[in-house]
Amino acid sequence: MSYLEIPLPRLAMTLGLVALAILASRWKRLDLERDLAWGALRGAVQLLAIGHVLLLLFEHERPAWVALALSVMVGVAAATSARRVEHGPSARTLFPYALAAIVLGSVVALAPVFLFVVPLHPSYEARYLVPISGMMIASAMNVVALVFERIFAAAHAHADEIEQLLALGATPEQALARHVRASVRAAMIPTINGLLTVGLVALPGMMTGQIVSGTAPEQAVRYQIVILYQLVAVAAVSGVLAGGFARRLLFTPRAQLRLPQRARNEKKR
Protein backbone atom coordinates (compact mmCIF):
# COMPACT_ATOMS: atom_id res chain seq x y z
CA MET A 1 0.00 0.00 0.00
CA SER A 2 1.23 3.49 -0.79
CA TYR A 3 0.81 6.18 1.79
CA LEU A 4 3.01 8.71 3.56
CA GLU A 5 4.27 7.42 6.88
CA ILE A 6 4.30 9.73 9.93
CA PRO A 7 7.54 9.47 11.93
CA LEU A 8 7.15 10.11 15.69
CA PRO A 9 8.95 13.51 15.71
CA ARG A 10 6.55 14.80 13.11
CA LEU A 11 3.61 13.37 15.07
CA ALA A 12 4.89 15.30 18.09
CA MET A 13 4.84 18.49 16.03
CA THR A 14 1.04 18.30 15.89
CA LEU A 15 1.02 18.93 19.62
CA GLY A 16 1.50 22.53 18.54
CA LEU A 17 -2.13 22.53 17.44
CA VAL A 18 -3.22 21.54 20.95
CA ALA A 19 -0.92 24.22 22.36
CA LEU A 20 -2.67 26.72 20.12
CA ALA A 21 -6.05 25.71 21.57
CA ILE A 22 -4.64 25.95 25.10
CA LEU A 23 -3.31 29.44 24.37
CA ALA A 24 -6.70 30.49 23.03
CA SER A 25 -8.33 29.09 26.14
CA ARG A 26 -5.97 31.00 28.41
CA TRP A 27 -6.31 34.20 26.38
CA LYS A 28 -10.13 34.12 26.42
CA ARG A 29 -10.32 32.63 29.93
CA LEU A 30 -12.31 29.63 28.79
CA ASP A 31 -10.85 27.62 31.67
CA LEU A 32 -10.36 24.62 29.40
CA GLU A 33 -6.55 24.31 29.54
CA ARG A 34 -6.59 21.33 31.85
CA ASP A 35 -9.31 19.52 29.89
CA LEU A 36 -7.52 20.18 26.62
CA ALA A 37 -4.17 18.95 27.90
CA TRP A 38 -5.63 15.90 29.61
CA GLY A 39 -7.85 15.11 26.64
CA ALA A 40 -5.00 15.38 24.17
CA LEU A 41 -2.77 13.17 26.30
CA ARG A 42 -5.42 10.60 27.04
CA GLY A 43 -6.64 10.44 23.44
CA ALA A 44 -3.11 9.90 22.17
CA VAL A 45 -2.33 7.22 24.75
CA GLN A 46 -5.59 5.38 24.05
CA LEU A 47 -5.02 5.46 20.30
CA LEU A 48 -1.37 4.41 20.53
CA ALA A 49 -2.41 1.59 22.83
CA ILE A 50 -5.21 0.43 20.55
CA GLY A 51 -2.77 0.61 17.63
CA HIS A 52 -0.59 -1.95 19.38
CA VAL A 53 -3.57 -4.05 20.44
CA LEU A 54 -4.77 -4.17 16.85
CA LEU A 55 -1.28 -5.09 15.67
CA LEU A 56 -1.22 -7.97 18.17
CA LEU A 57 -4.72 -8.98 17.20
CA PHE A 58 -3.86 -9.11 13.49
CA GLU A 59 -0.70 -11.10 14.15
CA HIS A 60 -2.38 -13.60 16.48
CA GLU A 61 -5.78 -13.71 14.90
CA ARG A 62 -7.70 -16.16 17.09
CA PRO A 63 -11.46 -16.21 17.67
CA ALA A 64 -11.00 -15.90 21.44
CA TRP A 65 -8.87 -12.74 21.13
CA VAL A 66 -11.22 -11.11 18.68
CA ALA A 67 -14.17 -12.01 20.91
CA LEU A 68 -12.36 -10.54 23.89
CA ALA A 69 -11.69 -7.29 22.03
CA LEU A 70 -15.34 -6.99 20.99
CA SER A 71 -16.50 -7.79 24.53
CA VAL A 72 -14.34 -5.05 25.99
CA MET A 73 -15.72 -2.62 23.41
CA VAL A 74 -19.39 -3.37 24.15
CA GLY A 75 -18.68 -3.46 27.89
CA VAL A 76 -17.12 0.00 27.87
CA ALA A 77 -19.89 1.30 25.57
CA ALA A 78 -22.66 -0.05 27.82
CA ALA A 79 -21.01 1.30 30.97
CA THR A 80 -20.58 4.70 29.34
CA SER A 81 -24.17 5.00 28.13
CA ALA A 82 -25.51 3.76 31.49
CA ARG A 83 -23.40 6.27 33.38
CA ARG A 84 -24.33 9.33 31.38
CA VAL A 85 -28.04 9.13 32.27
CA GLU A 86 -28.71 11.96 34.65
CA HIS A 87 -32.41 11.34 35.29
CA GLY A 88 -32.38 7.58 35.20
CA PRO A 89 -31.85 4.82 37.73
CA SER A 90 -28.35 3.89 38.86
CA ALA A 91 -25.72 2.96 36.29
CA ARG A 92 -25.68 -0.52 37.79
CA THR A 93 -29.41 -0.96 37.07
CA LEU A 94 -29.12 0.45 33.57
CA PHE A 95 -26.00 -1.44 32.52
CA PRO A 96 -27.60 -4.77 31.51
CA TYR A 97 -30.29 -2.97 29.51
CA ALA A 98 -27.74 -0.71 27.80
CA LEU A 99 -25.64 -3.79 27.03
CA ALA A 100 -28.58 -5.64 25.50
CA ALA A 101 -29.65 -2.65 23.39
CA ILE A 102 -26.10 -2.05 22.13
CA VAL A 103 -25.32 -5.70 21.41
CA LEU A 104 -28.60 -6.43 19.65
CA GLY A 105 -28.49 -3.24 17.57
CA SER A 106 -24.90 -3.90 16.55
CA VAL A 107 -25.50 -7.56 15.73
CA VAL A 108 -28.52 -6.76 13.56
CA ALA A 109 -26.40 -4.27 11.59
CA LEU A 110 -23.22 -6.33 11.44
CA ALA A 111 -24.31 -9.92 10.87
CA PRO A 112 -25.95 -9.57 7.44
CA VAL A 113 -23.12 -7.39 6.15
CA PHE A 114 -20.37 -9.77 7.25
CA LEU A 115 -22.33 -12.76 5.97
CA PHE A 116 -23.39 -11.46 2.57
CA VAL A 117 -21.88 -8.09 1.65
CA VAL A 118 -18.29 -8.30 2.91
CA PRO A 119 -17.95 -12.02 3.64
CA LEU A 120 -15.03 -12.59 5.97
CA HIS A 121 -12.49 -15.41 5.66
CA PRO A 122 -12.05 -16.50 8.38
CA SER A 123 -15.28 -15.28 9.94
CA TYR A 124 -13.35 -13.61 12.77
CA GLU A 125 -11.07 -11.57 10.47
CA ALA A 126 -10.05 -8.82 12.88
CA ARG A 127 -9.00 -6.26 10.26
CA TYR A 128 -12.66 -5.83 9.25
CA LEU A 129 -14.54 -7.10 12.26
CA VAL A 130 -12.97 -4.91 14.94
CA PRO A 131 -13.03 -1.43 13.34
CA ILE A 132 -16.44 -1.79 11.70
CA SER A 133 -17.97 -3.26 14.87
CA GLY A 134 -16.38 -0.40 16.77
CA MET A 135 -18.21 2.13 14.64
CA MET A 136 -21.53 0.38 15.18
CA ILE A 137 -20.99 -0.05 18.92
CA ALA A 138 -20.01 3.60 19.35
CA SER A 139 -23.08 4.74 17.46
CA ALA A 140 -25.34 2.41 19.46
CA MET A 141 -23.76 3.75 22.65
CA ASN A 142 -24.70 7.33 21.76
CA VAL A 143 -28.21 6.43 20.66
CA VAL A 144 -28.87 4.39 23.81
CA ALA A 145 -27.55 7.11 26.10
CA LEU A 146 -29.68 9.73 24.34
CA VAL A 147 -32.86 7.66 24.41
CA PHE A 148 -32.39 6.75 28.07
CA GLU A 149 -31.70 10.29 29.15
CA ARG A 150 -34.56 11.80 27.19
CA ILE A 151 -37.16 9.26 28.28
CA PHE A 152 -36.23 9.38 31.95
CA ALA A 153 -36.10 13.18 31.86
CA ALA A 154 -39.51 13.27 30.13
CA ALA A 155 -41.02 10.86 32.65
CA HIS A 156 -39.73 13.13 35.38
CA ALA A 157 -41.05 16.31 33.77
CA HIS A 158 -44.41 14.82 32.70
CA ALA A 159 -45.05 12.50 35.64
CA ASP A 160 -48.45 14.08 36.30
CA GLU A 161 -49.60 13.59 32.74
CA ILE A 162 -48.35 10.00 32.59
CA GLU A 163 -50.05 9.16 35.87
CA GLN A 164 -53.29 10.80 34.74
CA LEU A 165 -53.25 8.66 31.61
CA LEU A 166 -52.73 5.56 33.75
CA ALA A 167 -55.63 6.70 35.92
CA LEU A 168 -57.79 6.91 32.80
CA GLY A 169 -57.03 3.29 32.04
CA ALA A 170 -53.94 3.62 29.82
CA THR A 171 -51.40 0.83 29.66
CA PRO A 172 -47.81 1.88 30.42
CA GLU A 173 -47.13 1.65 26.67
CA GLN A 174 -49.92 4.11 25.96
CA ALA A 175 -49.05 6.42 28.84
CA LEU A 176 -45.44 6.77 27.72
CA ALA A 177 -45.92 6.45 23.94
CA ARG A 178 -45.60 10.15 23.17
CA HIS A 179 -42.32 10.44 25.05
CA VAL A 180 -40.82 7.22 23.71
CA ARG A 181 -41.58 8.35 20.19
CA ALA A 182 -40.04 11.79 20.71
CA SER A 183 -36.94 10.31 22.35
CA VAL A 184 -36.23 7.69 19.71
CA ARG A 185 -36.83 10.22 16.94
CA ALA A 186 -34.44 12.69 18.55
CA ALA A 187 -31.79 10.02 18.97
CA MET A 188 -32.06 9.00 15.30
CA ILE A 189 -31.88 12.51 13.87
CA PRO A 190 -28.06 12.81 13.93
CA THR A 191 -27.79 9.57 11.97
CA ILE A 192 -30.34 10.73 9.43
CA ASN A 193 -28.60 14.11 9.16
CA GLY A 194 -25.42 12.18 8.54
CA LEU A 195 -27.09 10.43 5.60
CA LEU A 196 -28.33 13.70 4.15
CA THR A 197 -25.10 15.66 4.35
CA VAL A 198 -22.51 12.96 3.75
CA GLY A 199 -20.12 13.96 1.01
CA LEU A 200 -21.49 17.50 0.96
CA VAL A 201 -20.22 18.64 4.33
CA ALA A 202 -17.70 16.10 5.49
CA LEU A 203 -16.08 13.03 4.06
CA PRO A 204 -16.57 10.29 6.61
CA GLY A 205 -13.55 9.03 8.51
CA MET A 206 -13.53 5.50 7.22
CA MET A 207 -13.71 6.57 3.59
CA THR A 208 -11.06 9.23 4.10
CA GLY A 209 -8.83 6.68 5.78
CA GLN A 210 -9.21 4.17 2.97
CA ILE A 211 -8.53 6.76 0.32
CA VAL A 212 -5.45 8.05 2.13
CA SER A 213 -4.13 4.51 2.48
CA GLY A 214 -4.54 3.86 -1.24
CA THR A 215 -7.94 2.26 -1.76
CA ALA A 216 -9.68 3.24 -4.98
CA PRO A 217 -12.19 5.98 -4.10
CA GLU A 218 -14.94 4.06 -5.86
CA GLN A 219 -14.47 1.08 -3.49
CA ALA A 220 -13.98 3.34 -0.47
CA VAL A 221 -17.30 4.98 -1.27
CA ARG A 222 -19.03 1.61 -1.45
CA TYR A 223 -17.69 0.69 1.96
CA GLN A 224 -18.91 4.00 3.29
CA ILE A 225 -22.41 3.44 1.94
CA VAL A 226 -22.54 0.08 3.68
CA ILE A 227 -21.39 1.71 6.92
CA LEU A 228 -24.00 4.48 6.68
CA TYR A 229 -26.81 2.00 6.15
CA GLN A 230 -25.54 -0.07 9.03
CA LEU A 231 -25.54 3.02 11.24
CA VAL A 232 -29.18 3.64 10.36
CA ALA A 233 -30.09 0.11 11.39
CA VAL A 234 -28.10 0.44 14.61
CA ALA A 235 -29.82 3.69 15.52
CA ALA A 236 -33.27 2.26 14.82
CA VAL A 237 -32.80 -1.07 16.59
CA SER A 238 -30.81 0.15 19.59
CA GLY A 239 -33.04 3.22 19.92
CA VAL A 240 -36.30 1.27 19.88
CA LEU A 241 -34.90 -1.33 22.28
CA ALA A 242 -33.62 1.33 24.68
CA GLY A 243 -37.07 2.93 24.56
CA GLY A 244 -38.70 -0.36 25.48
CA PHE A 245 -36.22 -1.03 28.27
CA ALA A 246 -36.64 2.46 29.71
CA ARG A 247 -40.38 1.91 29.78
CA ARG A 248 -39.98 -1.37 31.63
CA LEU A 249 -37.83 0.40 34.20
CA LEU A 250 -40.38 3.17 34.64
CA PHE A 251 -43.38 1.06 35.60
CA THR A 252 -44.11 -1.62 38.17
CA PRO A 253 -45.77 -4.88 37.05
CA ARG A 254 -49.03 -3.34 38.32
CA ALA A 255 -48.69 -0.45 35.83
CA GLN A 256 -47.65 2.15 38.37
CA LEU A 257 -45.22 4.92 37.45
CA ARG A 258 -41.95 4.41 39.29
CA LEU A 259 -39.69 7.43 38.90
CA PRO A 260 -36.03 6.54 39.22
CA GLN A 261 -34.48 7.17 42.60
CA ARG A 262 -31.85 9.52 41.28
CA ALA A 263 -34.45 11.82 39.76
CA ARG A 264 -36.53 11.81 42.92
CA ASN A 265 -33.56 12.87 45.00
CA GLU A 266 -32.98 15.74 42.65
CA LYS A 267 -36.56 16.87 43.02
CA LYS A 268 -36.15 17.09 46.77
CA ARG A 269 -33.18 19.39 46.56
Binding site: L166, A167, G169, R254, Q256
Partner: protein, 219 residues
Protein backbone atom coordinates in the same frame (compact mmCIF):
# COMPACT_ATOMS: atom_id res chain seq x y z
CA UNK B 1 -73.94 -6.68 49.37
CA UNK B 2 -70.29 -5.84 48.82
CA UNK B 3 -69.09 -2.26 49.13
CA UNK B 4 -68.37 -0.20 46.00
CA UNK B 5 -64.76 0.21 47.01
CA UNK B 6 -62.93 -0.76 50.14
CA UNK B 7 -59.45 -0.03 51.42
CA UNK B 8 -58.35 -2.63 53.93
CA UNK B 9 -55.47 -1.90 56.27
CA UNK B 10 -53.44 0.07 53.68
CA UNK B 11 -49.83 0.63 54.57
CA UNK B 12 -47.41 2.78 52.55
CA UNK B 13 -43.78 3.09 53.56
CA UNK B 14 -41.35 5.32 51.65
CA UNK B 15 -37.66 5.56 52.40
CA UNK B 16 -38.16 4.05 55.83
CA UNK B 17 -40.98 6.46 56.74
CA UNK B 18 -44.51 5.14 57.28
CA UNK B 19 -46.82 7.50 55.38
CA UNK B 20 -50.04 5.49 55.58
CA UNK B 21 -50.21 3.33 58.65
CA UNK B 22 -52.97 0.77 58.36
CA UNK B 23 -55.83 2.88 57.02
CA UNK B 24 -59.18 1.24 56.19
CA UNK B 25 -62.25 2.69 54.51
CA UNK B 26 -65.48 1.13 53.27
CA UNK B 27 -67.43 3.08 50.65
CA UNK B 28 -70.96 2.02 49.71
CA UNK B 29 -72.62 2.60 46.34
CA UNK B 30 -73.67 6.22 45.95
CA UNK B 31 -71.92 7.24 49.15
CA UNK B 32 -70.05 10.53 49.53
CA UNK B 33 -67.02 10.68 51.78
CA UNK B 34 -64.84 13.66 52.63
CA UNK B 35 -61.40 13.09 54.10
CA UNK B 36 -59.81 16.05 55.83
CA UNK B 37 -56.32 16.30 57.24
CA UNK B 38 -53.31 18.54 57.44
CA UNK B 39 -50.83 18.55 54.58
CA UNK B 40 -48.36 15.72 55.01
CA UNK B 41 -50.84 13.65 57.00
CA UNK B 42 -50.86 11.01 54.26
CA UNK B 43 -54.36 11.58 52.92
CA UNK B 44 -53.30 12.11 49.32
CA UNK B 45 -51.02 9.08 49.42
CA UNK B 46 -53.91 7.04 50.78
CA UNK B 47 -56.12 8.18 47.91
CA UNK B 48 -53.43 7.34 45.35
CA UNK B 49 -53.10 3.93 46.96
CA UNK B 50 -56.87 3.42 46.63
CA UNK B 51 -56.52 4.33 42.95
CA UNK B 52 -53.76 1.64 42.67
CA UNK B 53 -51.44 4.29 41.26
CA UNK B 54 -48.69 3.61 43.79
CA UNK B 55 -47.32 0.35 45.17
CA UNK B 56 -48.51 -0.40 48.70
CA UNK B 57 -46.52 -2.14 51.40
CA UNK B 58 -49.51 -3.82 52.98
CA UNK B 59 -53.27 -4.16 52.77
CA UNK B 60 -55.78 -4.57 49.96
CA UNK B 61 -58.03 -2.48 47.77
CA UNK B 62 -61.31 -4.18 46.90
CA UNK B 63 -63.59 -3.12 44.08
CA UNK B 64 -67.06 -4.61 44.29
CA UNK B 65 -65.63 -7.14 46.75
CA UNK B 66 -62.87 -8.22 44.34
CA UNK B 67 -59.24 -7.62 45.25
CA UNK B 68 -57.67 -5.10 42.84
CA UNK B 69 -54.76 -7.52 42.42
CA UNK B 70 -57.15 -9.87 40.62
CA UNK B 71 -58.14 -7.22 38.07
CA UNK B 72 -56.02 -5.90 35.19
CA UNK B 73 -54.95 -2.35 36.17
CA UNK B 74 -56.60 -0.92 33.05
CA UNK B 75 -59.95 -2.45 34.02
CA UNK B 76 -59.76 -1.32 37.62
CA UNK B 77 -58.87 2.22 36.59
CA UNK B 78 -61.70 2.62 34.10
CA UNK B 79 -64.11 1.73 36.92
CA UNK B 80 -62.38 3.88 39.52
CA UNK B 81 -61.60 7.43 38.41
CA UNK B 82 -58.85 9.38 40.13
CA UNK B 83 -58.25 13.12 39.81
CA UNK B 84 -55.14 14.71 41.26
CA UNK B 85 -55.18 18.18 42.77
CA UNK B 86 -54.34 19.97 39.53
CA UNK B 87 -55.34 17.52 36.80
CA UNK B 88 -52.99 17.97 33.84
CA UNK B 89 -54.58 18.54 30.47
CA UNK B 90 -53.48 16.21 27.69
CA UNK B 91 -52.18 17.79 24.47
CA UNK B 92 -54.95 18.79 22.08
CA UNK B 93 -58.46 20.16 22.32
CA UNK B 94 -61.04 19.84 25.07
CA UNK B 95 -62.77 17.25 22.88
CA UNK B 96 -59.53 15.24 22.70
CA UNK B 97 -59.34 15.36 26.47
CA UNK B 98 -62.93 14.36 27.10
CA UNK B 99 -62.62 11.44 24.67
CA UNK B 100 -59.20 10.33 25.96
CA UNK B 101 -60.37 7.44 28.17
CA UNK B 102 -62.45 5.64 25.55
CA UNK B 103 -59.78 6.41 22.92
CA UNK B 104 -57.26 4.44 25.00
CA UNK B 105 -59.48 1.40 24.49
CA UNK B 106 -59.82 2.11 20.78
CA UNK B 107 -63.36 3.46 21.16
CA UNK B 108 -64.65 6.78 19.86
CA UNK B 109 -66.83 8.90 22.06
CA UNK B 110 -69.84 10.16 20.11
CA UNK B 111 -70.01 13.95 19.82
CA UNK B 112 -73.44 13.98 21.49
CA UNK B 113 -71.95 12.13 24.47
CA UNK B 114 -69.06 14.63 24.62
CA UNK B 115 -71.54 17.50 24.78
CA UNK B 116 -73.58 15.66 27.40
CA UNK B 117 -70.49 15.18 29.56
CA UNK B 118 -69.46 18.82 29.23
CA UNK B 119 -72.95 19.94 30.23
CA UNK B 120 -72.83 17.60 33.21
CA UNK B 121 -69.80 19.52 34.48
CA UNK B 122 -71.32 22.93 33.73
CA UNK B 123 -69.59 23.74 30.44
CA UNK B 124 -71.21 24.25 27.05
CA UNK B 125 -70.33 22.62 23.76
CA UNK B 126 -68.40 25.68 22.56
CA UNK B 127 -65.58 24.39 24.74
CA UNK B 128 -65.07 21.23 22.68
CA UNK B 129 -62.97 22.93 20.01
CA UNK B 130 -60.90 24.98 22.43
CA UNK B 131 -57.30 24.11 23.17
CA UNK B 132 -57.08 22.45 26.56
CA UNK B 133 -53.89 24.33 27.32
CA UNK B 134 -55.63 27.73 27.50
CA UNK B 135 -58.31 26.82 30.04
CA UNK B 136 -58.54 28.42 33.48
CA UNK B 137 -58.03 26.41 36.67
CA UNK B 138 -61.74 25.93 37.25
CA UNK B 139 -62.34 24.95 33.61
CA UNK B 140 -59.51 22.44 33.76
CA UNK B 141 -60.98 20.87 36.85
CA UNK B 142 -64.35 20.53 35.10
CA UNK B 143 -62.87 19.17 31.88
CA UNK B 144 -60.85 16.67 33.91
CA UNK B 145 -64.05 15.61 35.64
CA UNK B 146 -65.83 15.20 32.29
CA UNK B 147 -62.82 13.25 31.02
CA UNK B 148 -63.02 10.93 34.01
CA UNK B 149 -66.78 10.50 33.61
CA UNK B 150 -66.37 9.46 29.97
CA UNK B 151 -65.15 6.10 31.29
CA UNK B 152 -68.43 5.78 33.21
CA UNK B 153 -66.65 4.99 36.48
CA UNK B 154 -68.45 3.62 39.52
CA UNK B 155 -66.14 5.37 41.96
CA UNK B 156 -64.61 8.85 41.91
CA UNK B 157 -61.48 9.55 43.94
CA UNK B 158 -60.84 13.30 44.06
CA UNK B 159 -57.73 14.82 45.56
CA UNK B 160 -58.34 18.41 46.64
CA UNK B 161 -60.55 19.20 43.64
CA UNK B 162 -61.28 22.66 45.03
CA UNK B 163 -57.91 23.71 46.40
CA UNK B 164 -56.88 25.78 43.39
CA UNK B 165 -60.31 27.33 42.78
CA UNK B 166 -61.91 30.56 43.95
CA UNK B 167 -64.59 30.02 46.64
CA UNK B 168 -67.53 30.36 44.27
CA UNK B 169 -66.16 27.95 41.63
CA UNK B 170 -65.14 25.56 44.40
CA UNK B 171 -68.68 25.30 45.70
CA UNK B 172 -69.99 24.80 42.16
CA UNK B 173 -67.57 21.89 41.68
CA UNK B 174 -68.68 20.35 44.96
CA UNK B 175 -72.30 20.72 43.90
CA UNK B 176 -71.42 18.89 40.75
CA UNK B 177 -69.69 16.11 42.66
CA UNK B 178 -72.69 15.75 44.95
CA UNK B 179 -74.96 15.34 41.96
CA UNK B 180 -72.70 12.64 40.58
CA UNK B 181 -73.19 10.71 43.82
CA UNK B 182 -76.96 11.07 43.48
CA UNK B 183 -76.57 9.33 40.11
CA UNK B 184 -75.25 6.30 42.01
CA UNK B 185 -71.50 6.90 41.92
CA UNK B 186 -69.42 6.67 45.05
CA UNK B 187 -67.25 9.68 45.78
CA UNK B 188 -64.21 9.99 48.01
CA UNK B 189 -62.95 13.54 48.21
CA UNK B 190 -59.81 14.62 49.99
CA UNK B 191 -59.76 18.25 51.11
CA UNK B 192 -58.04 20.31 53.74
CA UNK B 193 -60.79 22.94 53.60
CA UNK B 194 -63.36 22.14 56.31
CA UNK B 195 -66.13 24.13 54.61
CA UNK B 196 -65.73 22.09 51.43
CA UNK B 197 -65.82 18.82 53.35
CA UNK B 198 -69.01 20.00 54.97
CA UNK B 199 -70.49 21.12 51.66
CA UNK B 200 -70.16 17.60 50.26
CA UNK B 201 -72.72 16.57 52.88
CA UNK B 202 -71.56 13.01 53.31
CA UNK B 203 -69.62 10.96 55.82
CA UNK B 204 -66.54 12.67 57.17
CA UNK B 205 -63.15 11.32 58.10
CA UNK B 206 -59.89 12.82 59.23
CA UNK B 207 -56.45 11.64 58.28
CA UNK B 208 -53.91 12.11 61.00
CA UNK B 209 -50.36 10.77 61.24
CA UNK B 210 -50.98 8.09 58.64
CA UNK B 211 -54.23 6.85 60.15
CA UNK B 212 -57.85 7.41 59.21
CA UNK B 213 -60.40 8.42 61.87
CA UNK B 214 -64.17 8.74 61.57
CA UNK B 215 -65.61 12.18 62.35
CA UNK B 216 -64.93 15.77 61.38
CA UNK B 217 -62.43 16.59 64.12
CA UNK B 218 -58.85 15.55 64.60
CA UNK B 219 -58.67 12.99 67.42
Amino acid sequence: MPSAIEARDIRVIREGRTIVDGASLVVSFGEKIAIAGASGSGKSTFLRAMATLIPIDGGHVLLDGVDAIMLPPTVFRTRVAYLPQAPPMLPGSVADNVAAGPALRGETLAPERQIELLRAVGLDEAFLARSAAELSGGERQRVALARALANDPKVLLLDEPTAALDPETALQVIDLVRNLAIAGRSVVMVTHIAAHAEALAGKRYVFHAGKLFAGAERP
